[in-house]
């Protein structure tokens, strides 16, 4: 059954998707759950998996192309299935006149060969079908093993392939290679062990074999090599260690930050916060439960409460108008492999410190693994950024557009603090002090509001019982 | 020896019988309007039997009933609104609509249950009698069943054990001459089914089932016997059902022997003859009218309750299989 693969719409605001990688070539077999292609959203790149077994018959766009979401980009079908009608349908949707049904890049013979002339398999065939148990299929799929055309000895029920056979096969065939690639390698006497696999789980694909016969390097790589081979010095005489393209995710993030900083007049307000009561409260709370809270969780809660008290701070400048939001979607900046990313806790208005703590943990974990979904890092209404763990005493943050404010949190340090007793006598005590700096977009927020807001946050942090109600 | 019945007693009988009569007529109305799921088996014509027997019972005595059980239930004081709702398959019924006409139970009134299997309730009533004896209470069980049920194995097995073990039970055969279309006289060799008692060594009594006082007298004696530990009695009430086996059954099979059979029985209508008897005792027509009015109100209220009651939620089908078990 032919299946039309479309560019998926992964986020509410996503209208276009960019295809950055095809994991399959036309003619390659596909198993359910295997990644077929990768797309790039404005922050990360995501693998899209096949939803059924079959053969990757035709692709309609190339790596690097962008296309509207929900439009078709490929066809997966049975090896011998006639998909002319499907191709016509897709072309119609894409407004193209491509009538060629034959995949251009694969050697025509191999597509038909891979299924119908499954090599004289010791694996028993029942009516042309490999006899393989559901358990074995599941295990194979989990291990990323494509069974199409594979020669596996079946020792299970009625001579079929069972789990043990899959596991035995895997342990004696550590090299993963697609059947087409295997044939090519065999034909040309190329040792598979020496080939780097670019497919899923390091699987050797046809292109890898092709690359090892005659080196075919991506344009960019060639450029880099050329640059590196030729000029070791910059134009004005500085020795170059490395040239890295300013592109991809880094460029996206960088351009946005630049836009934020250069369009919004940034205004800064600092408060010094005495954390003695908060740290004591936190100690008690953490002692009473499994999930440990961090200082950031309390600051988040204080910020959320203040945003409800001063809803003008919970605004965004969008499309020429100021939107004031009821839902407080609090973003917390975190370092991810691709750069700084701000996942946000949706509808955090009534969430308790512990709930915030739990949700934030999950998001941070995903962020560090590069697995945040667009929904998770878009839609925020205010951001907090904590560099306290690096010991930074003071810093100012750039607003995360289209928000109108951001709170920078610095490290907590013991400092001398003036205390006044009931009689008015002043003395010096040592207190854990922390700087918080609020940045606001002065087009939308004036100084008075900003001052009130950040002072209220300070006050709440210094009276932390309020954070628990 | 004939007992003298007071005006009060007779009025009490009349109230019960009139209520039974009116209840069954309303059930029939529902059937005719297409509002009744399944079928009902009406007690019309047999009112004197249930009334007479149950009037001789104590509050905590047991009765076992049959598919033709509405009469027994009314005479034991079951709530007629919950009965009517159950007959219509509604949530407000005794069994939340899960039992229907043939399976109404009300343990608080000692009603062990109506039973859809002919003869199925007889052993159960017998077991209740054994239980009363076991526990040493003074309770008695009455097992109602039809002429044809007395041909079921369970009848013979039960009455045999009850007789052998002296159980406190009274077996009441409601002989209305027919088991659906089969004439009892064609399939038994004993014109008086009560004679079967001889085979079990217990007394057998034949009673005019259209005369509530005669039924009551015989029942009283038998119940007293049972309660005092002297074992079971078999009472056969000769009676007749006005309608067919179930609602909508034209019962033409009854005319093949005697076209006047039904008419002659209806002349001896138990409700009307009791009414006449009471009036002849110098009771003012007003007292009777008052009873009838009260009954009408109650029956109307029951009808309204049944109609207004909602149908049960489909999820109810999965409950009440076991008392304590999550699985079905």
């Amino acid at each position: 059954m032919a299946e039309i693969i479309i560019m998926p719409k992964l986020g509410f605001n996503m209208s276009v998707g960019k295809l950055v990688k095809w994991y399959k070539n036309e003619g390659d077999p596909v198993t359910k759950g295997e990644p077929v292609f990768a797309i790039e959203t404005d922050k990360t790149s995501i693998d899209i998996e096949a939803t059924q077994d079959g053969v990757f018959r035709k692709k309609f766009i190339e790596e690097g192309d962008s296309i509207e979401v929900t439009l078709p980009i490929a066809i997966i079908a049975d090896a011998a299935e006639n998909i002319d009608a499907v191709i016509q349908d897709v072309n119609r949707q894409l407004n193209r006149k491509d009538t060629a049904a034959v995949p251009e890049t694969s050697a025509p013979a191999s597509t038909a060969v891979s299924t119908s002339s499954a090599p004289s398999a010791v694996a028993a065939n029942a009516g042309g079908r490999q006899k393989i148990t559901p358990r074995a299929r599941r295990v194979a799929s989990e291990q990323g093993l494509c069974l199409e055309g594979l020669v596996i000895t079946g020792t299970g029920y009625d001579g079929g392939i069972c789990e043990k056979d899959i596991l035995d096969y895997l342990s004696s065939n550590k090299v993963r290679v697609s059947p087409v690639a295997r044939k090519m390698a065999e034909a040309q006497g190329i040792a598979l062990e020496g080939v780097q696999g670019s497919g899923a789980h390091g699987k050797i694909m046809k292109r890898d074999i092709a690359a090892s016969e005659k080196p075919m390097v991506k344009a960019l790589d060639a450029e880099i090599k050329a640059v590196q081979a030729e000029a070791k010095f910059s134009a004005d005489g500085k020795e170059i260690m490395e040239v890295i393209p300013y592109s991809g995710v880094r460029k996206i993030i960088g351009d946005r930050l630049a836009q934020s900083k250069f369009t919004a007049p940034h205004l800064y307000f600092t408060q010094k916060v005495n954390l003695d009561k908060l740290l004591e409260l936190r100690k008690q709370i953490n002692g009473a439960q499994e999930k440990k809270t961090s200082v950031t969780d309390y600051i988040a809660r204080a910020t959320i409460k203040c945003l409800q008290k001063y809803p003008d701070m919970n605004e965004s400048l969008v499309g020429g108008q100021i939107e004031k939001y009821k839902s407080v979607n609090l973003g917390i900046a975190v370092a991810a492999p691709t750069g700084l990313i701000v996942p946000n806790i949706k509808n955090s208005n009534q969430k308790t410190v512990v709930e915030i703590s739990k949700e934030a943990s999950v998001l941070f974990d995903k962020a560090r693994k590069g697995k945040l979904t667009p929904d998770e890092y878009t839609g925020g209404t205010f951001t907090i950024s904590n560099l306290g763990m690096f010991g930074i005493e003071n810093f100012t943050a750039i607003i995360n557009p289209p928000e109108v404010g951001i709170l920078a949190i610095s490290a907590t340090k013991d400092e001398p603090f003036v205390v006044q007793d009931a009689n008015g006598n002043k003395s010096i005590e040592i207190k854990p002090m922390m700087n918080i700096t609020l940045t606001v977009d002065h087009r939308v927020i004036d100084g008075l509001l900003a001052a009130q807001f950040v002072t209220e946050i300070k006050r709440m942090l210094e009276n932390p019982i309020e954070l628990l109600v | 020896m004939e007992t003298k019945y007071s005006k009060k007693q007779l009025l009490s009988f009349y109230e019960t019988m009139y209520k039974m009569r009116r209840f069954e007529e309303e059930v029939f109305e529902f059937y005719k309007k297409g509002m009744m799921p399944g079928l009902a088996h009406l007690y019309l014509g047999e009112e004197a039997v249930a009334t007479g027997v149950c009037a001789a019972l104590n509050e905590d005595d047991y009765i076992g009933s049959t598919h033709r059980g509405h009469g027994h239930l009314v005479s034991r004081g079951a709530q007629i609104d919950k009965m009517m709702a159950e007959i219509l398959g509604k949530e407000g019924g005794y069994s939340k609509g899960k039992g229907g006409s043939m399976h109404i139970m009300a343990m608080d009134k000692g009603i062990l249950g109506a039973n859809g299997i002919v003869g199925g309730e007889i052993p159960i009533a017998t077991g209740a009698a054994y239980s009363a004896k076991y526990r040493g209470t003074n309770q008695v069980a009455v097992s109602f069943f039809g002429d044809s049920a007395s041909n079921e194995g369970t009848f013979h097995e039960s009455i045999n054990m009850a007789a052998a073990w002296n159980l406190p039970i009274v077996y009441v055969i409601e002989n209305n001459l027919y088991g659906i279309s089969v004439d009892i006289r064609d399939v038994t060799n004993t014109p008086n089914l009560a004679d079967r008692a001889l085979g079990y060594g217990i007394p057998g009594v034949v009673v005019d089932g259209m005369d509530v006082m005669a039924v009551h007298q015989a029942a009283e004696e038998a119940i007293k016997r049972a309660r005092s530990g002297n074992g079971p009695t078999l009472i056969e009430c000769k009676t007749y059902r006005w309608q067919g086996h179930h609602v909508g059954d034209p019962a033409t099979y009854r005319e093949r022997k005697d076209v006047n059979e039904k008419a002659s029985w209806m002349e001896r209508c138990p409700v009307n003859s009791l009414k006449n008897k009471i009036l002849s005792m110098k009771v003012s027509g007003k007292e009777i009218a008052k009873i009838e009015e009260e009954v009408e109100k109650e029956v109307k209220a029951a009808v309204k309750f049944a109609v207004d009651s909602p149908y049960p939620d489909p999820s109810e089908a999965y409950t009440d299989i076991f008392l304590i078990c999550k699985q079905v």
């Binding site: 148990t133 559901p134 358990r135 074995a136 299929r137 599941r138 020792t155 299970g156 029920y157 009625d158 001579g159 069972c162 789990e163 | 019924g93 005794y94 069994s95 939340k96 899960k98 039992g99 229907g100 139970m105 009300a106 343990m107 062990l112 249950g113 299997i117 199925g120 007889i122 052993p123 159960i124 009533a125 017998t126 077991g127 209740a128 009698a129 054994y130 239980s131 009363a132 004896k133 076991y134 526990r135 069980a141 194995g153 369970t154 013979h156 097995e157 039960s158 045999n160 054990m161 073990w165 409950t319 009440d320 299989i321 076991f322 008392l323 304590i324 078990c325 999550k326 699985q327 079905v328």
Partner: protein, 324 residues
């Protein structure tokens, strides 16, 4: 720990429960004076008297129905049917009445009654005295179905059955009555719906009932010598069924064989196989197998009877077939 005959363990359960609760009584043919046809109620008549241990006439429908009436009015009767085949004589009272009364009353009442009856072939009792009718009863809603294996299991499960507030049918195995077992000094009631993993294994799950549990253990010992590791589950109760234990085991082993002595067609193997299929499909390395009594009436001659009833040899052969 002490040694005991299976039938005496049952007798002990009856005795202990009757002592504990006055509302428990026993009825059946020959249960009183001679202590039961299979000697499962020896001594109880002398101890508890005529009203509590009652010899009945041969009227199965009658006295089972009486049991229902007793259960509805405050007692906890334990009715014995001499052979499980005879439950067909009382079928209406069991399946149309006792099992359904709670439901038909909309939950107003419950029927705390136990019916005890032996199943099983192996002593040339022929077609009408050798059947195992657990599949028949399980097919109907409203009856809990218990199939104990060892003497200890029988004693513990019978206690639970008597204390249970719903109708329970308790299938003893007639070939086990005279067998010796080890039993704890104090046996606690064993809960329904919780199967027992009698032996752990990795290659195949064998779900067995009644005496087939013991036979499966023997089969597993022989299979172990050939390198096949079987996990054996004693089902204990068919209704309620412990699905979770079975599913968890099959997910581990990849193979499932159900061994039960009821007729194969529409039997326990078919039921359990279908019941767990949705959950274990992707974990199966072989089709689900079943062993039951073949769809023939049980013959009289030992030469015919023994080759057809489920046995250790049959189980070993079937497991081997499922492994390759």
């Amino acid at each position: 720990m002490r040694e005991i005959l299976y039938r005496d363990a049952i007798c002990e359960a009856l005795d202990e429960e009757m002592e504990r609760d006055e509302s428990v009584l026993i009825l059946g043919e020959d249960v009183a004076f001679i202590g039961g046809n299979f000697k499962t109620s020896v001594g109880l008549y002398d101890k508890y008297g005529d009203l509590r241990v009652k010899d009945t006439p041969i009227s199965e429908a009658g006295f089972v129905g009486m049991g229902t009436g007793m259960a509805l009015t405050g007692l906890r009767p334990v009715i014995e049917l001499m052979f499980s085949d005879f439950l067909l004589v009382a079928a209406d009272q069991i399946l149309n009445n006792a099992a359904k009364i709670r439901y038909m009353s909309g939950g107003q009442v419950n029927v705390p009654m136990v019916i005890r009856t032996p199943i099983g072939a192996g002593r040339s009792s022929a077609a009408q005295h050798s059947q195992s009718l657990q599949a028949l009863v399980s097919h109907f809603p409203g009856m809990k179905v218990v199939v104990p294996s060892t003497a200890q299991e029988a004693k513990g499960l019978l206690k639970t059955a008597i204390r249970d507030n719903d109708p329970v049918i308790f299938f003893e195995h007639k070939m086990e009555y005279a067998n010796k077992f080890m039993i704890d000094d104090v046996v606690e009631p064993i809960p329904f719906g919780k199967a027992n993993i009698v032996k752990q294994g990795t290659d195949i799950t064998i779900v067995a009932t009644s005496s087939q549990v013991m036979k499966s253990v023997k089969a597993a010992e022989a299979l172990e010598k050939e390198g096949i590791s079987a996990e054996i589950i004693d089902l204990r109760t068919i209704v309620p069924l412990d699905r979770e234990t079975i599913i968890k085991s099959v997910k581990k082993t990849g193979r499932l064989l159900i061994v039960d002595e009821a007729y194969e067609r529409c039997g326990i193997g078919a039921e359990i196989g279908a019941e767990v299929m949705d959950d274990v499909f992707y974990y199966l390395d072989a089709p689900i197998g079943r062993i039951g009594t073949p769809n023939v009436s049980l013959p009289f001659s030992p030469a015919l009877e023994f080759p057809i009833i489920p046995s250790v040899e049959k189980t070993i052969a079937k497991v081997k077939k499922m492994m390759k």
